[in-house]
């Protein structure tokens, strides 16, 4: 009797703490959501903290200010780098965990170390590389008489399309995400028995066929986890995007900072755009919380 009562009390306490923490975790996100429906007047006034007349003006303004362009850029870069990471990491993980070759160990360790590169360190050479890549192409055109005189199609425009910041971002996001993806997939491959592959080889399949027809499909759960992490990082990344993109190739995290103007901060619009930016990661969280937690704990807790 006493112990049942004690158990109930501790369970109640546990729920109380959990709910309190959930409110802290959610609170700021809810505030962003609510503020996105406020007028500037309501934002400035302390009376209308929770009760106010909702308006869609902020969203309208955001949509009228190139939101579709930023969204398209973000989607292109995130999807391209995610797909590229999965394919490249899948192939590398297969080689590292299933094939014997000299240099395997150094390459595996290199992948583990390289994932710590800070974006701020990368931003400098990347900025210089991209600028010089453009200058190099222009020099090349200048030095080639028939290109220099060509007007239609314009070789300079073509060169500019080759220095598109989105191409650079796709490359650098893939490079930054590869180590985690490779590493995660090696873990998944370890749990897949090798008998099927061996049988397939005996039946005359090539390594490539084994990879595309057997391994890649079997890795699906691992690929899903890797995809979530890669997508999240590419979708949210700010610094490299800030350095590499211009007014036509800007992604959403860079676009939102345009509302931090010299004249003041347009909070309503920022919160509206912020809400739109966090929707995909939030949906992913609710759909795949289990996989996300598995990915997060994979590094520290050994199953």
């Amino acid at each position: 009797m006493n112990s049942i009562k004690g158990l109930n009390r501790s369970t109640v306490l546990q729920y109380a703490v959990l709910i309190f923490l959930a409110l802290i975790a959610l609170g700021p996100i809810i505030v962003m959501f609510l503020t996105s429906f406020k007028t500037q007047v309501d934002i400035m006034s302390s009376e209308s903290m929770w009760v106010f007349q909702p308006t869609f003006d902020n969203y309208t303004h955001v949509f009228e200010n190139k939101f579709d362009l930023f969204l398209r850029n973000s989607i292109i870069v995130s999807l391209a780098s995610t797909l590229l990471s999965l394919l490249v990491a899948g192939m590398a993980a297969y080689a590292l965990s299933r094939l014997e070759f000299p240099g395997r160990s150094p390459i595996a360790y290199f992948t583990l170390i390289i994932r710590m590169v800070p974006p701020a360190v990368l931003a400098i050479p990347i900025f210089i590389l991209w600028l010089n890549w453009e200058l190099f192409l222009f020099d090349l055109i200048d030095a080639t008489p028939f290109l220099y005189e060509m007007e239609n199609p314009d070789p300079y425009l073509f060169a500019e399309s080759l220095v598109d910041g989105r191409i650079g971002l796709t490359l650098f996001y893939t490079a930054l995400n590869l180590p985690f993806a490779i590493w995660l997939l090696i873990g998944f491959l370890r749990q897949i028995p090798t008998e099927i592959e061996e049988a397939a080889i005996v039946d005359g399949c090539s390594q490539w066929q084994v990879f595309t027809r057997i391994i890649f499909p079997l890795m699906r759960p691992g690929l899903a986890v890797a995809a979530i992490f890669t997508f999240r990082i590419s979708w949210n990344e700010f610094l490299l995007a800030l350095v590499l993109t211009d007014r036509n190739t800007r992604t959403l995290p860079v676009g939102i900072t345009l509302f931090l103007t010299e004249q003041g901060v347009q909070w309503g619009r920022i919160m509206a755009m912020g809400t739109l930016i966090v929707i995909p990661p939030l949906v992913l969280t609710f759909v795949a919380a289990r996989q996300i937690i598995a990915g997060m704990t994979a590094g520290a807790v050994k199953g």
Partner: protein, 298 residues
Amino acid sequence: MSSSFKIRQIRIAYLFLLPAIIVFTLGLVVPLINTFELSFNRLSMGSRWSDRDYVGLDNYERMIEDDHVRSSVGVTLRFAAIVLVAELVIGMGLALLLEKPIKGAAVFRTIFILPLMVSPVAVGLIWRYLLDGRIGLINHYLGQIGIPAQTWLGDPNLAFFSIVITDIWQWTPFIFIILLAGLQALPAEVLEASRIDGANWWQMTFLIKVPMLRSILLVTVLMRLIDVFRALEVIFIMTFGGPGRSTQVMSLHIYKTAFTSQTLGYASTIAVVLMFIMLVLSLFLLLFSNPLKERADF
């Protein structure tokens, strides 16, 4: 015959690795080599790579005497120490409190990882709004309990405190979830045995559970430490290092040296030092948590 088969095997392996090698080379190795080379040069914004001036160790000498670099290292270390202690204590406390399996745990866990999924830029903006001196919610509620409004992001100490609070909000769930997984993976026999031996809650917690989580704790600390040195986006948005240099962590200082002061060569020198710190931290991490060591042949 067998050696030609072996060579074929090696070639296949490298063909599978080729895309990864290309991406790593173009995306990381070449830029890092450039950074290293640039650290011995002077190059201003917008100049060609070929216009760089070799200055030998000048940048390094300048860095050793540079108060700004020193203060950014200090800010980073202080920030790391405070957030790590706070997040570990809160995270561990919560993990111990909520260790017992409970109905609906999955829902709460989902909610707790939300701060980690939100874009750092959005996190910075939300907290900059919450902490705003005039319209922020935090001053509003503090006012209701009689605490006068503070200019959270306008005062050096308060600004530092603000980025600490934001980091705790964002990252404590990560530590909590890892420690919870660790606690729930502890061998039941050991806990059972100690319970039979009459250990009380305190003894169970501090003499058995926490020591058994030692390696997880260490790995978590190292992972977070690496993150603290890498991350700058939240601070970039909230304070951009100010007021003064009170919140200017090392990676933000590198960014500003490169793109605000427009001295790309000198920024690369500081970047080389940061890379060195990261390398040391990563090697430590590898020493304690090597995902490859389960396979003896790596």
